[in-house]
Amino acid sequence: MGRHRVRRYGAVFCSWRHDMGAIADAMKLSVEELPGNVAKANMEGRLDIVGAQSIDLPFNVLVGSRRAIVVDLSQVTFVASMGLRTLIMGAKTAASKKGKMVLFAPKPEVEQVLVSAGVDTLVPILHDLDAATAAVRA
């Protein structure tokens, strides 16, 4: 493109290739049972395009099969619009099944993205686990 010669990464590019397996499951989703039949969905990693794609299906299955879901974002280090989409789609699925879903303990910079996009007006964001479980059990 133009006069700038493209110098492809040598070592870095190769090491990235080598890490493909790690990247594919960079975003982790696990489920923890809390009292009162509450499912805590623990997300871990970067909720970017790749991360969102990797958990979209299992997350949607989870929120579609439970009535009370606390999404623990405390271990999520990044979120962009595709990750917001994952969360909003999850909330829609939960609402369509008469379930309740809240977001729990996002890091400040992640919460800033959630609030900037207005996600907090659609899905409550709570920082106290007792309050979060009470909100979805109600």
């Binding site: 493209v6 110098r7 395009i49 900037s116």
Partner: protein, 177 residues
Amino acid sequence: MTPIAQGGTDGPAAETPSPASMSDAPHDPAANDARAQRAFELMLANDIIDLERLGLWIDEVSDTLGVSKSVSFGLHLCFEEAVSNVIRHAYPDTPNGHPSRGDIRVELRTEGPTLLATIEDNGVAFDPTAAADPVQPNSVDEANIGGLGIHLIRQFTTAVHYARVGESNRLAMAFAL
């Protein structure tokens, strides 16, 4: 495509293979104070898979420039939104359904107290800043997903500017250092 900055006949701190060489050479070798203008450039293909390479590059440049965690977060966010937009819109598939190949050039440059990010492609004209801001939905059921990208870019930058320059789209985003 225009030169990315003044001077620099040998490609100003072009795509850099390692953090070590990235820390080399501000444009003007005489200006080596902290405020010296420094520029970094990376070429990407119009493929989502290249976003991983973009992320590594942002981390490297952030480390080299010593920017704050929140600026680095904003860079990751705004570059992901802007570059994925280019991947979606700039190079449409051919009429028989084959993906079109295209390059995306990204650049980060310090200008005094400002960090300037530029994204340039040679694809079809597309002004992401012309999109209307999404209307705040009242409920989950109404929530219309999408259109959040440019909204987030506006929230996390101090200025955004689009220009069609010749056959290129150029999106510039400014961040306060």
